[in-house]
Amino acid sequence: MYRNGPKSAPDPSSNPLDDICPVCKSNRYLNPSLQFLINPECYHKMCSTCVDRIFTSGPSSCPVPHCGRTLRKKGFRKAFFTDLHVEREVDIRKRVSEVFNRRQDEFETLLDWNNYLEEVEALVFDLVEGSAADKARAEEKLKEYRDAYREEIEGNKRVGKEEVEGERRRERAERDGARARRLAVAREAEEEKADVEKGKRDLLERLANSDGDASAITRQAQKVILKKSSARRNITEEASESNGSANSGLTIRGLKKRVTPVEEKPYDPFGGVDLTPARYTVQESYDNEWLGNAKKDMRHMAGGYSLQEYYARTMFEAFSGLGVFIEEEVADRGQKSDPLVATAAAAEASKGEINLGHKMELDDVF
């Protein structure tokens, strides 16, 4: 593995060159406090003594042959990764991702998001592995992008920060909650113990002072203690229940962010069928001697009875089927099904089984 803890000393057996400063050739074997630093300008490794020696008096060029970059002391830091190629790539990635910080929910389709990621990855590759021309092109692109979308980049950065902040807060709240619960439980146990002690003391006192039946007093005292402890248990249960409901939102992680739901239209039981009557219009109110009382009576209205319902129903029944001429309509279908089925049923009726069409076979009741 490349990664080593910052505190742990690198394993000398892996690569002896790792322990020798390429500039002054001092050895960790001779100088156990030897510490290597790098500068992200050129990622050349040197020991802290060299850095102090060369750069304390101001910016100077890199002491590594054929490098010649101008470095400042301020830019030096400890490498996190032993492999400096990795260190460099991580730095580049950090820099790129600060600029290309789009989020998936900004894209309409998954394909768009993936295309964007692909593009960013190509850019990173150019910066890490590409030739000088590739690198220059990539840098140019990065700069262009930064200038073009300054505002959006800033916005996304803010959002990301807030998220991190929220996560941290949540963790803290959880920790606090857990500690509080632990404390409460401990206090609970303590109190219970104290109660039992007190009960025992009381019992002894009572036994000593009163001249009642000893066993009766003991029994009673036991009961009191039991009652107390059970009451306490109930209280704690209630408290924990309310706690649970309050905290339940915090313990679940990885919830998908909620999108504000689209407002649903009111449910239409008739599926959009227009039931407006053609032959009449229902009036606001009708004079009807039967309904005179119902209009004013509290007992009718309190239950939500609506006279409009009654009006609509009566009017509907008055005109429903006025234009249905059974003699014509039934004569047409008469041959088709119904009377035939019915006659068949009649013919079979007293035989023992009724055969209604071919769909249904009914036992004759008797």
Binding site: G271, G272, V273, D274, L275, T276, P277, A278, R279, Y280, Q283, Y286, D287, N288, W290, Y311, R313, T314, M315, F316, E317, A318, F319, S320, G321, L322, G323, V324, F325, I326, E327, E329, V330, A331, G334, D338, P339, A342, T343, A345, A346, A347, A349, S350, K351, I354, L356, L362, V365, F366
Partner: protein
Amino acid sequence: MAPSSVSEDERYRTSTQYRLWSFTPASLLELRTTTNRSAANRVRDAVRRVREARAASSGNTSEADGGNESRAVSAVPEGEVDCLSVEEELKLVTHFCRQTLQLGDHLQVPTDVKATAVQYIKRFYITNSCMTYDPKTLLKTALFFATKTENHYFRLTKFAEAITATKPEEILASEFLLTQGLRFTFDVRHPFRALEGAVMELQAMANGHIPVGDKLRGMDRRVKEAHGKAREYLKTSALLTDVYFHYTPSQIMMASLLIADRQLISLYLSSKLPPGSGSANAAISAKLMEALDRCAAMLQSMEPGKEQSSEEKKELSALAKKLRKCRNPEKIDLVSLQRAKREGDGEDEKVVKKRKLERERSAKEGEDVFGPTIPK
């Protein structure tokens, strides 16, 4: 879905009353004739069977038969069976419908319940015959069943107590039979509420709340009178005649109003279907008036206030006597038949078992890839 308009008529066409229980006079008569003929045949067959059984049993042993058998045997008359004709059956059914109304009055049930019960009886006896199932017991069942479908709770024991010589089992025995005869359609569309609607609107027109010319203005009193008279027709004539089978509730209601006050209703209908606006409307209104006139004539064939004349009564009692002689002896004791059915005696058990086996087999075959074998 695009909003589509559904007219009142379309909505009526979805009802079972329209789909299953509307007939032309000819088809209704045909149905009744067929029913009557097959029932008569079956009565003759049953009588012959019972006689053979009696001959056999009297040949073998003395008369020590079980209850059901001996009762059936005792009910069998001597000689050739004289069956009822279609007209006679119809008269009897109408008579028993009348009795249902009286029974309903006696039990003080609402008009809706009575009307529904009567329609149940009428519907039941289209495909069943009086000779097979006795209307006298069936009418109680119908009335009791109507209290349930019309949401008017009536305790069964109380119901049976209120009628002389009736046991609860007797009422329940033919309940499933009745529902089967009704083809499990319990919805009956009555013209009563429709009448309230029409009268309400007429009144609003008379008082000027709904603007329609001046012709209907101030006819308040006439509307009220027409309302009362029409209601009488709907309560009796409409129930006892066959109008429910041939016309829609709205038409029945309009026809009864037409009898009550022809001028008023003509004005009303012409305001609903203005004659000037297109020939289609005119054609419909002419057709409607014709239908209403026929319906009205049918209603008037049975005037509401009129009692049965003594001649009719005599005829009816003769018919009742005749019915007693041509009852199907196998279907007289419905209570014990129902009990036997429920307990399932030997032969029935065999049938039930066979049927169960068949069902299981077809279910098993149904799971086959190519489905069950096609029945021949």
